[in-house]
C-alpha cells in the first residue's frame, strides 16, 4: 500500500515537472516575442542607421530618415474628413506624392506646382512638374520648370541662387529639402538636363539669354541642379 502511494506520488511529480517545463518554454517564448516587438518599435522610432546620399563629387550627404510617426493633422489630410476618428492616415513611409509647392527662401520664391507637359506649361503663376520626372524624395530627376518673365513668371530671379541654397518642395505629407549643387546655362536642345538619374536630384529650368523674337523664346536655358537632403518636416501643409 505504502509502495503504491509512493509510486502515485512520483508519477504525479513527474507530470507536474513536465507541465512546469512546458510552461517555462511557453513563457520564455512569449517573453521573447514581447521583447522582439518592443525592440522593433524602438528601432522604428529611433532609427540608428544613417542613410547617405553620394553626390557627383564623391561627397556623401546624410539623408533624413523618413519619420515613421504618422502625422494625422487636419492640414495634412487630403480630403474633407467627416469625423476626426475616421480620417485617412498618411503612411509612415515615404509616399509617392506629387510636389505641390516650390519654396526657394534665398530668392523669395513660393509658388504652387502642378503636373505639366514640356509643351503645356501652367497658364498661371505656377511651376510645372514635368510629366514623367521623379517624385519628391524619390530616386531620380525631378524636373521643375517656370517662366522667367511675362504674366506667368515664377523663376525670374533663379539666376541669383547660389550653390548651397535650399530648395524646398512641399507635398501633401512632407517638406523635402534639396540643396543647390550646380548652376549652368545651356542651349535649348540640351535635353540631357532632363535626363533620368539614379540619384535623388531636382532640376530647375527657366529661360535665360537674349530674346529671339522670331522664335518667341530666349536663346539659352538656365539649369539649377540640387541634391536631395531629406525631409525638413512631416505634414507638408502644416
Amino acid at each position: 500500500m505504502k509502495g503504491r502511494n509512493i509510486s502515485i506520488f512520483w508519477h504525479h511529480s513527474f507530470v507536474m515537472v513536465g507541465l512546469a517545463i512546458a510552461l517555462i518554454l511557453l513563457g520564455i517564448g512569449a517573453a521573447y516575442m514581447v521583447w522582439l516587438n518592443m525592440l522593433r518599435d524602438q528601432e522604428r522610432l529611433n532609427p540608428s542607421t544613417e542613410r547617405l546620399l553620394e553626390v557627383s563629387d564623391g561627397q556623401r550627404i546624410p539623408l533624413a530618415q523618413p519619420d515613421p510617426t504618422p502625422v494625422p493633422t487636419a492640414e495634412a489630410v487630403p480630403v474633407a474628413a467627416p469625423d476626426p476618428g475616421n480620417t485617412p492616415e498618411p503612411s509612415a513611409t515615404l509616399e509617392m506624392l506629387p510636389p505641390e509647392r516650390l519654396i526657394i527662401p534665398s530668392i523669395n520664391v513660393d509658388w504652387p506646382i502642378t503636373l505639366a507637359d514640356v509643351d503645356h506649361l501652367p497658364k498661371f503663376r505656377g511651376v510645372g512638374w514635368i510629366f514623367g520626372s521623379a517624385f519628391p524624395g524619390m530616386p531620380g530627376n525631378m524636373v521643375l520648370t517656370g517662366h522667367v518673365g511675362g504674366p506667368y513668371a515664377t523663376l525670374t530671379h533663379l539666376h541669383r541662387v547660389q550653390p548651397g541654397d535650399d530648395i524646398l518642395v512641399q507635398t501633401e505629407a512632407a517638406m523635402h529639402r534639396y540643396r543647390v549643387q550646380t548652376i549652368y546655362e545651356t542651349t535649348p536642345n540640351d535635353v540631357l538636363a532632363m535626363a533620368p538619374s539614379d540619384k535623388t536630384i531636382a532640376t530647375l529650368i527657366t529661360c535665360s539669354g537674349d530674346w529671339i523674337p522670331e522664335r518667341q523664346t530666349n536663346e539659352r536655358r538656365l539649369i539649377v541642379v540640387a541634391a536631395y537632403e531629406g525631409i525638413v518636416q512631416e505634414g507638408g501643409k502644416g
Binding site: M16, A31, P70, S91, T114, Y152, C207
Partner: protein, 182 residues
C-alpha cells in the same frame, strides 16, 4: 515537497503568460482609418479640353470600399483643385464599380455629373474609354491591399512614347517683368 514546488512553478508561469499577453494587448493601436495610397498621373486631351494633373487617392484597407480622392492640376492650363469621396466595389472575377459620393467644388453638385458610377470589366488590358475618349493606363490597378501599382499613368491611347527635343520654353515677353509673390 517536490509536488508543491512544481505546482507553484506552474502557477507562476501561467501568471507570467497572462501578464505577457496583457502587455502585448496594451500596446498602442491607431484608431485612424487605414488607407492605401494610389497616385494617378493624368495627361489627357478630349472633348475639346486638356487635363493635366495628379489624383491622390487613398483607399480604405478595411474592406469598406471608401475612397478619398483629390485632384490637383490644370484644366486647359488653368489651375484646378477638387476633392471628394467615392466607393469602390470589387467582385471576385475582377470587376470593379466606382461610385462618386462626394465632389467638393464651388457651385457644383454630383447631380451635374453625367454619370456617378463606372464599372470596369476584367481584361481591359490597360485601355479604357471614358466619355468616348480612349485612354491608356500604365500600371496595375487592383483591389486595395491586392498589390496595385503605387502610381498609375493615364494618357490618351496611342500617344506612344514622347520624344523631347527641346527644353521647355519658359520665356516671357522681355517687356513684362515677373512679379514675385509678396
Amino acid at each position: 515537497m517536490k509536488r508543491i514546488s512544481a505546482v507553484r512553478i506552474g502557477l507562476f508561469l501561467a501568471l507570467c503568460l497572462l501578464f505577457s499577453s496583457a502587455v502585448a494587448e496594451e500596446r498602442p493601436t491607431t484608431v485612424s482609418l487605414s488607407t492605401e495610397l494610389l497616385t494617378v498621373l493624368a495627361d489627357v486631351e478630349g472633348l475639346g479640353h486638356r487635363m493635366t494633373g495628379v489624383y491622390i487617392i487613398r483607399r480604405a484597407t478595411d474592406g469598406s470600399g471608401r475612397v478619398f480622392w483629390r485632384f490637383r492640376g490644370m484644366l486647359d492650363g488653368e489651375f484646378e483643385e477638387v476633392d471628394g469621396e467615392a466607393f469602390e466595389r470589387w467582385s471576385l472575377d475582377g470587376d470593379v464599380t466606382v461610385e462618386l459620393t462626394k465632389f467638393n467644388y464651388p457651385n457644383f453638385t454630383l447631380d451635374k455629373l453625367p454619370a456617378r458610377r463606372m464599372t470596369l470589366m476584367p481584361g481591359w488590358d490597360g485601355l479604357i474609354v471614358i466619355a468616348g475618349v480612349p485612354l491608356a493606363v500604365k500600371g496595375e490597378f487592383k483591389a486595395p491591399t491586392a498589390g496595385s501599382s503605387p502610381v498609375l499613368v493615364v494618357t490618351n491611347a496611342g500617344r506612344g512614347a514622347r520624344v523631347i527635343t527641346e527644353l521647355p520654353n519658359t520665356a516671357g515677353s522681355p517687356n513684362l517683368e515677373g512679379v514675385q509673390q509678396p
